[in-house]
Symmetry: C2
């Protein structure tokens, strides 16, 4: 049976998003990354910056600046924190998304949210730190004073977020159907393997 | 660059050993599983039962019966426990083995021991519990009163052993170059993917 839903989890700087785009192109599936952020934000009157940050990362050291960008916060005074509500919004949005059309969904605990769907393939991409530092410098066009620290901080926040909302350990092989080291396997070959499995 | 050394780590009952044999056959590499046990036992005057058990599993609830099968135990009275010495014996044996010829090595922390070799590919195979229980019943021809409990106990002991001697978390994707869910990917296809990557 072919797989209609591909969820892509990835370490920061591993090239996971680029691979996800290749997979979506080759399979002719919808590519769902920023569109999930925009969709959830629009549906619930939240800023995209807030959804982007707190729908995948644990709270950073200074969350207050971003909190200011929430619109209509009083509507969410229902006992749950705004962060917990955001998780629920995303949960519903991603569950609905998977019903609509074949798609590749990047991040946002989609592997956990869609774990019961037998037509889904859950993939995790990662690489060693040197590969990711190089990629951050070359491909992503961003400049950081200490790129290694930045990568580790982002991973830590994703890991904490995932642990909190799913009870599972981010990056543990058993949460996914396949896990590929992008530095060793190669970006193109990673996409090939996933596409072939999805069509199997 | 092709990979001359393949290390295969696997959950009990996932089919990892069968896949390792297929990989070795297809690549024409030596298949190293029981031969490592026999080699270490012979080299150090230990029983194969002892090496098999305590070279990959944490001590079980009743270790004494097996301890009786150790030959020449007095020779190992050098401050280290016999278990720690066994790890060192295996470490040396596996390091030497990788120097000799292209090979597929199953279990025994070989992924950790050979982590610095750039000509190695480290693979982890796993599957969900139902797949493994079925495999245990059908393919492995063994009968257990409670196969699920048996699988969990074996995994727990491997995990504890691995954690103790490597400081790493068994089954965490980052320790390997690829991790494949054998139930979803399929035994044959798992072998194909690894063979293609090794030849890449």
């Amino acid at each position: 049976m072919g797989k209609k839903i591909i969820t892509v989890s990835r370490e920061f700087g591993s090239g996971g998003r680029s691979i996800a785009k290749l997979i979506a192109q080759r399979l002719g599936y919808a590519y769902c990354d920023n569109s999930v952020i925009a969709g959830v934000a629009k549906e619930h009157g939240l800023s995209e910056v807030f959804v982007k940050e707190y729908g995948e990362y644990a709270i950073s050291k200074n969350p207050f600046a971003l909190n200011l960008s929430i619109g209509g916060i009083n509507r969410y005074d229902a006992g749950l924190s705004i962060y917990d509500q955001l998780f629920i919004f995303q949960h519903v949005y991603i569950t609905d998304l998977a019903e609509k059309e074949p798609c590749v969904i990047v991040g946002r605990c989609a592997d956990f949210i869609l774990q019961e769907r037998t037509d889904s393939l859950h993939v995790f991409f990662y690489a060693d730190i040197d590969f990711r530092v190089n990629r951050l410098a070359n491909s992503m066009g961003e400049k950081f004073a200490n790129p290694e620290n930045h990568l580790k901080e982002m991973d830590k926040r994703r890991k904490t977020y995932y642990r909190h909302y799913t009870g599972r350990r981010w990056g543990e092989a058993k949460n996914y159907h396949l896990c590929l080291h992008t530095g060793v396997v190669g970006i193109e070959r990673c996409a090939d393997i996933v596409v072939e499995l999805a069509q199997q």
